[in-house]
């Protein structure tokens, strides 16, 4: 039983399949009228199939089905009314960080979140991470990702490491495992998970 820092092997395959959308949300403008065809999109540069979109006259749980061109995409559900140059908000997947005790076995072979040996005193399933602004970003030729530091306030718990995973589709696919180098205990205090300096040499996830 041990927690070993590693980028999960399954994650490496999954990013090539496009099964993880790691990006900060933002907005574009688009036009659609009771149709799945969104046109006159200000830019599809940062859009990708699977992204949830929202806005006036966009039904709940609508996602981007296909990028048609630099100015058009199709949605999974037809707009519920007219959108004329309206704001469309898009979002990447929701990633969570869960804390585990030293009894957990986590490492490169971890494929998904499991509650087994999760730390007590904290929210089961972990806490949603906030993707930092402008992420993913480039440092010279290296792409990197960053999350904002996670502060779990007024908590009593002991954790030996954590798992970052993707909640999309309730599949809870594992991203990475991080050992804290020993038990870390917070008693009626703050448990803070600090992410590395976001750049091309230390960023949490990097592709050089």
């Amino acid at each position: 039983m041990a927690i070993t820092t590693a980028l999960c092997t399954s994650f490496k395959k999954e990013i090539l399949r496009g099964q993880h959308i790691m990006t900060v949300g933002a907005t574009v403008t688009a036009t659609a009228s009771s149709t799945v065809n969104f046109t006159s999109v200000s830019s599809t540069d940062l859009l990708t199939p699977g992204m949830l979109i929202s806005g006036t006259n966009i039904a709940a749980s609508t996602y981007i089905a296909r990028i048609v061109s630099t100015t058009a995409f199709t949605a999974s559900i037809a707009s519920t009314g007219s959108i004329s140059g309206g704001t469309v908000t898009y979002a990447g997947n929701i990633f969570k960080l869960a804390l585990f005790t030293s009894s957990a076995t986590l490492g490169a072979s971890t494929t998904a979140y499991s509650a087994t040996n999760e730390a007590s005193g904290v929210t089961a399933g972990g806490y949603a991470l906030t993707v930092s602004a402008s992420m993913p970003s480039l440092d010279s030729t290296t792409a990197y990702m960053d999350f904002t530091d996670l502060v779990i306030s007024a908590v009593t718990t002991t954790a030996n490491g954590c798992l970052i995973y993707n909640t999309e589709g309730a599949l809870n696919r594992a991203v990475s495992v991080h050992a804290f180098g020993g038990d870390k205990t917070s008693t009626a205090g703050d448990f803070t998970v600090v992410f590395p300096t976001p750049d091309g040499t230390t960023g949490i996830i990097r592709i050089a």
Partner: protein, 95 residues
């Protein structure tokens, strides 16, 4: 054939407190890591200037965070007092 390319993983750290939350100095240190980093390889003069700038920003952050706490306590004091909890409101103001 392999032409460069590598997937890397950064180190995550955990910091804990007991019986209290993070104080403004600790929060400022966390924030500074994200506001400015100085490369070890930077020329000494640039490095020195950057470090001084970093320290100035840190002091500024600490001052404003202290003010934010004081301002929030003023708001809490008034909310609690308005809700009829004068004694609790007084305690908040004295912390």
């Amino acid at each position: 054939m392999q032409v460069g390319g590598e997937v890397g993983l950064g180190a995550v750290k955990a910091y804990t407190t007991s019986g209290r939350g993070l104080n403004v100095e600790e929060l400022a240190d966390l924030a500074m890591r994200r506001i400015l980093t100085v490369a070890d390889t930077a020329p000494p003069v640039i490095k020195e200037q950057a470090q001084q700038f970093k320290e100035n920003i840190r002091v500024l952050l600490i001052n404003y965070m202290h003010q934010a706490i004081r301002s929030d306590r003023t708001t809490l004091y008034n909310n609690l007092r308005g809700a009829g909890f004068k004694e609790v409101a007084d305690i908040i103001l004295k912390i």
